[in-house]
């Protein structure tokens, strides 16, 4: 494999400064809440105190009478269209089970009313003056509760659509078969079965959900919002508020993190309606507590995995059965569930027999949604701890077992075709896979052969090492569309207009790098404008590990079209034909060394002869979703006295194709791993017996700080994806899947216990040690 520079790239593969970096380090970049307009109203939401109740009556008279209150919204005076908050492609694979405000509340924190007032204080005071009479209903507070015969029905309304079996609280159902697993297990020499459960966890972007809605001079509704999906926001708000789509403009400024939480339309409808009703700008910013209580979470799941293998370690049958808790609404219910199988099972394509069965279940608990990893994170816990157990049972080294079974270059898996994004997938073969090298590099870095099975003691601490491997995807094939427009200016610079949505991921930078590479200019000559539905072409947004691969290909295609136009304009200037001309160093060059500057080329096109705007738009819909691959290794120490687990060293060797910007790619990996370690060890939303989130703050919900983070080595293993833009594939999500199984396997190596419930708190570790 060659490095990017050896492939002749001038800008791709270089650690350029982020195109939005200076504004961010100087504080000049304007996030949503940083740019208020005169006379802005502040909007506050009244959340339900009950997990499940009917609203018998709401009296807003006193709230409306309070000085400074401009508008009070409830189910009595707002549109009733059922829709989904999930910002997905249309038609969304999530049920239409949400109203803007409903006559029934389905979780603690569910919307009851909203107040817009001249100040936050007045709005909060007005909320207290809203009188609500509730009829409490029996609540469904676990997956088991929901599935019981005669369980209360979370969605008993008549007008919801797209629910698999509403009377039985089943949002979605997935069931696919390859071969015959029953026979497969009978034929297997060794079988292991594990059941794992994962917790409620929150994304906690440091910037909460926030939107500023206002009417422009033509009375069009402008939503300046912190979102991952500006075009989906426009469509869903149009649908919810029954507005023509062309009356809405969505602008995404800088966004303070998303991680899936902002792939939802949670605030834009309310602020938009306030602006329409009052004619005044409206700011709606969730508090940190509201983020925990009423935004979105990772689907808690209970997953059973059964693995059957022959004596030589070759997998013969895999079965995965997942129950996923979507909470009170079904946003992303089907697709997260499907991904739990589709992003995990193809990894072990040697198994001739496979079965995936899953159900997504409604409860009266916080609403789940998209979260980095998107179901794969949950699925890899039982799969990769199960593989560890299988290795133990067969007395094969865990690395060796995986080597005998993982998918390789040129291979396929029937799962790719059978299971896609909530529907059938697409057949594909793997065209880049450096997983073997990832495993080898990781094993060496962690010191696998020296440390595995040694159980070194230091006082009460016992050391262990563990590993896991995984894959993800790059976008949603056949569904995700991205487009890019590039136009040229007469100084030889270019405007790059992209719907792609930079939420801190660095996509503005890497997409500009790709354009600069094709157009032969430095990064400074690419002016990026992204994510404004009035200005930029369509893009589904930042999710499904799609931006680098899908949006990147659109950018490369647009740049190639522009390059052709440039060469055709330059040819007469060089007394040549387009054939044989090349573009580099801001000039068009002939094979014999003549050159003409790009500024000159554009001046000719604009002012001199056969004038036209050098510009092009290109779109891309992928026909496949090339997986990135990852090998994780961790060394942990377990305090046998207290049950405390310390991660001492974490190694992640990843094949993400060509890293367009290595430091940003490393940053994606480091950030997702740290989030994953928190998910494995400390992060857990605690929920009371009445369905209330008990720890809705960053003090009580522990995400890792700089003192909590171990040494993490990220290795970007050289690779080249032939279908990708400049050889790239995705890197945004995969890292978060690693820590749970890797740490669980390392804990087992240290103290011999198998943990089945995340997070691995000292209490759970001690309990497991006492039980064994």
């Amino acid at each position: 494999m060659t490095r990017p520079s050896e492939r002749g790239f001038a800008i791709v593969g270089k650690n350029e400064r982020k195109v939005d970096g200076v504004g961010l380090v100087t504080g000049r970049s304007k996030f949503v809440a940083d740019l208020l307009l005169p006379d802005t109203l502040h909007v506050k939401i009244l959340g339900s105190p009950h997990a499940h109740a009917r609203i018998v009556d709401i009296d807003t008279t006193e709230a409306e009478a309070l000085g400074g209150v401009a508008c009070v919204l409830t189910h009595k005076n707002t549109p009733t269209t059922r829709h989904t908050t999930a910002g997905q492609g249309y038609p969304e694979p999530s049920p239409y089970d949400v109203r803007m405000f409903d006559m029934k509340v389905r979780f603690v924190g569910d919307r009851v009313a909203a107040v817009a007032a001249g100040s936050e204080e007045i709005a909060l005071e007005a909320l207290k003056r809203i009188r609500v009479v509730y009829e409490e209903l029996p609540a469904v507070l676990s997956i088991d509760d929901a599935l019981r015969d005669g369980a209360p029905v979370v969605h008993d309304e008549k007008d919801s659509t797209g629910i698999y079996d509403a009377p039985r609280n089943i949002v979605a159902d997935v069931d696919i078969d390859v071969g015959d697993v029953v026979k497969g297990f009978e034929e297997s020499d060794a079988v292991v079965e594990v059941v794992c459960e994962t917790q409620y966890a929150q994304h906690t972007p440091i910037e909460p959900h926030v939107v500023l809605a206002y009417l422009d001079s033509d009375e069009r509704l402008v939503l300046r919002t912190s979102t991952q999906v500006p075009f989906h926001v426009r469509r869903i708000v149009a649908q919810t508020l029954d507005l023509p789509l062309h009356r809405i403009r969505v602008i995404k400024p800088r966004v303070g993190g998303g991680f899936g939480a902002k792939q939802e339309v949670l605030v834009e409808d309310i602020a938009g309606l306030v602006a329409l009703r009052t004619g005044r700008p409206a700011l709606l910013e969730l508090t940190r507590a509201e983020e925990f209580i009423a935004a979105r979470t990772r689907h808690p799941m209970r997953i059973r995995v059964k693995l059957g293998a022959m004596e030589d370690g070759r997998l013969h049958a895999i079965e995965m059965e997942a129950f996923s808790n979507t909470g009170a609404y079904g946003a992303h219910g089907l697709t997260v569930l499907a991904n739990t199988g589709s992003k995990t099972l193809p990894l072990y394509n040697k198994a001739e027999n496979a079965h995936f069965f899953g159900r997504a279940i409604y409860t009266n608990l916080p609403v789940s949604g998209a979260y980095r990893g998107y179901g794969a994170t949950q699925g890899y816990f039982p799969l990769e701890t199960g593989m560890d157990e299988l290795a133990e049972k067969l007395s094969i080294d865990p690395i060796e077992l995986r080597r005998r079974n993982h998918i390789r270059l040129g291979e396929t898996s029937p799962i790719f075709e059978k299971l896609g994004e909530g529907r059938e997938g697409v057949p594909q073969t793997v065209k880049s896979c450096e997983l073997e090298r990832c495993i080898g590099i990781g094993a060496e870095r962690i010191g696998w052969s020296e440390k595995r099975g040694k159980r070194v003691r230091e006082g009460p601490w016992v050391h262990g090492v563990g590993m896991s491997i995984m894959m993800q995807g790059s976008g949603i094939p056949g569904i995700d569309m991205a487009a890019a427009t590039i136009k040229m200016n007469e100084d030889g610079s270019f405007n790059l207009l992209i719907g792609a949505t930079d939420i801190g991921t660095g996509s503005d930078t890497i997409l500009a790098q790709m354009a600069a590479e094709v157009l032969g200019v430095p990064l400074s000559k690419i002016i990026v404008t992204s994510s404004d539905t009035d200005i930029t072409p369509f893009d589904v947004g930042a999710y499904a590990s799609s931006t680098t691969y899908v949006s990147g290909t659109a950018v490369v295609r647009a740049a190639e079209k522009v390059r052709e136009q440039i060469l055709s304009v330059a040819a007469p200037l060089l007394n040549s034909t387009s054939e044989g001309l090349t573009l580099s160093e801001e000039a068009v060059k002939t094979p014999d060394g003549q050159r003409v500057g790009l500024d000159r080329v554009c001046q000719r096109a604009m002012y001199e002869s056969d004038q036209f705007q050098i510009a092009a738009t290109a779109s891309f819909v992928p026909s496949e979703s090339p997986p990135p691959f990852l090998a994780n290794f961790a060394e942990v120490a377990v305090d046998t006295g207290t049950g405390r687990v310390e991660v001492l060293h974490y190694v992640a060797a990843v094949d993400c194709g060509v890293a367009v910007h290595p430091k940003l790619a490393e940053g994606q990996m480091e950030g997702s791993i740290v989030n994953g370690i928190g998910y494995a060890l400390t992060e857990e939303m605690l929920i009371s017996s009445r369905g209330r989130v008990r720890n809705p703050s960053l003090f009580d919900y522990k995400i890792l700080g700089a003192l909590d983070v171990p040494r993490i080595d990220v290795v970007l293993v050289d690779s080249y994806e032939p279908t990708g833009p400049m050889g790239a594939k995705s890197v945004g999500e995969i890292g978060i899947n690693g820590p749970i199984p890797t740490i669980a396997n390392a804990i087992h190596d240290a103290v011999g216990i198998r943990l089945r419930q995340t997070p691995f708190t000292p209490e759970r570790v001690l309990a497991a040690m006492h039980a064994s």
């Binding site: 982020k18 940190r288 700089a706």
Partner: protein
């Protein structure tokens, strides 16, 4: 309530609407929007500013308590159009992802380097331990602070 503050070297007279108003609210209202709000409870550090030279969470400081104080916000770091060495290092090292925690992290780092020009890695981790970042794994910020510290010791102009 009238308050006199020196913000980024400029004396300012500002008005607090009520006695409970925080320094964060006042600074943002006065246009220092680089000071971010992430939690309003002192848990995340996004609102950190220098108050008489020390990094504090401005959401926990009553504005009235800051009367007469010198405040430095992220907007006060770049001098005469030149970025502060910490800002340069954050850009060079890829330490900025979404950038929402960056202003607070920079203020904690400046506090540290003012007191300790040659901090070891643990001291850096301690100094930024109150600044939560969800995008990065802190490694690149730590590296950036090390590099900036070295550049400043080696005859930087700061």
């Amino acid at each position: 309530m009238k308050l006199s503050l020196t913000i980024n070297g400029v004396p300012r007279s500002v008005t607090a609407d009520d006695a409970g108003e925080t320094l964060l609210t006042i600074l943002r209202r006065e246009g220092y929007s680089g000071v971010k709000k992430g939690c309003g409870a002192g848990d995340c550090g996004a609102c950190a500013v220098l108050l008489n030279g020390r990094a504090v969470n401005s959401c926990l400081v009553l504005a009235a308590k800051a009367d007469g104080a010198e405040i430095i916000t992220v907007e006060g770091l770049a001098m005469g159009g030149r970025l502060h060495p910490l800002q340069e290092a954050f850009l060079d090292e890829g330490a900025v992802q979404c950038g929402y925690c960056t202003p607070g992290m920079l203020m904690s780092a400046i506090d540290l380097l003012t007191r300790n020009p040659d901090p070891n890695e643990h001291e850096i981790r301690e100094a930024i331990s109150g600044n939560l970042c969800r995008c990065t794994g802190y490694a690149k910020q730590i590296r950036a602070i090390q590099i900036a510290a070295k550049r400043m010791r080696d005859g930087g102009d700061d």
